[in-house]
Symmetry: none
Subunit: 132 residues, 2 copies
């Protein structure tokens, strides 16, 4: 199963990580045929969450970005990691091979603070800013 028509001009700023146009399409099609499932069988497997009509369009790249919800159901059905599909769809960055973690947090973790303490902290923050 080849992949071909790639001529679309995407001018509109759309999604997070503009990845391969529809690499996803091929992947989905392959996964399904690999499992030997028909469109309707998948529809059934996803408990009607993904219609056969929609899946068809998806596999044929006639559709841009399926919702994370749809991807979640498909991932479950094909027994592949959800994040993988999310990535193919361009919702997530290509997972670090080396298992690199965490991005720089610009915000703090303050879960353990009480409401009062948090307020104090904010007050202090305001104070810091007021000095500028």
């Amino acid at each position: 199963m080849a992949s071909d028509n790639r001529r679309i001009k995407k001018k509109r700023q759309s999604t997070p990580f503009e990845g391969q146009p529809s690499e996803l399409a091929g992947v989905l099609a392959d996964l399904r045929t690999a499992k030997g499932l028909s469109l309707r069988q998948v529809e059934e497997a996803t408990d009607k969450a993904v219609s056969n009509a929609y899946l068809s369009q998806l596999e044929n790249g006639k559709i841009k970005k399926p919702s994370p919800n749809v991807l979640h159901h498909l991932a479950a059905t094909y027994a592949v990691p959800y994040e993988a599909l999310m990535e193919k769809a361009g919702y997530l960055l290509p997972a670090e091979p080396g298992g690199k973690r965490r991005q720089r947090l610009a915000a703090f973790a303050i879960d353990d603070l009480t409401a009062e303490e948090e307020e104090e902290l904010l007050k202090y923050l305001a104070f810091l800013r007021s000095r500028s």
Copy 2:
């Protein structure tokens, strides 16, 4: 600003990880006010990717699930990790299965602080914790 009306019957199977109804709403509102930005300023900051009208509805929980695209822009604007917002929106599982200590999004951002100020703030945070 409290949070209240939560009586809606969610029968329709909707998104991946059904998380807190609209915890996201509050977080977004907090992040913005923390940064001292107006709705329109954010709209501008996101390069028109998120309208002030929409953000308003989002912060007031009048809207369910913003697209990952929107979250991506907001994350950038508020300088918080994209994945964090994705999680709040229910698109991703609560990160790190291994590391128990989860980082929560602070209700404020500190991008505008100088390195020195940030350090002072952290020191103060440590102080608060030491009192517990």
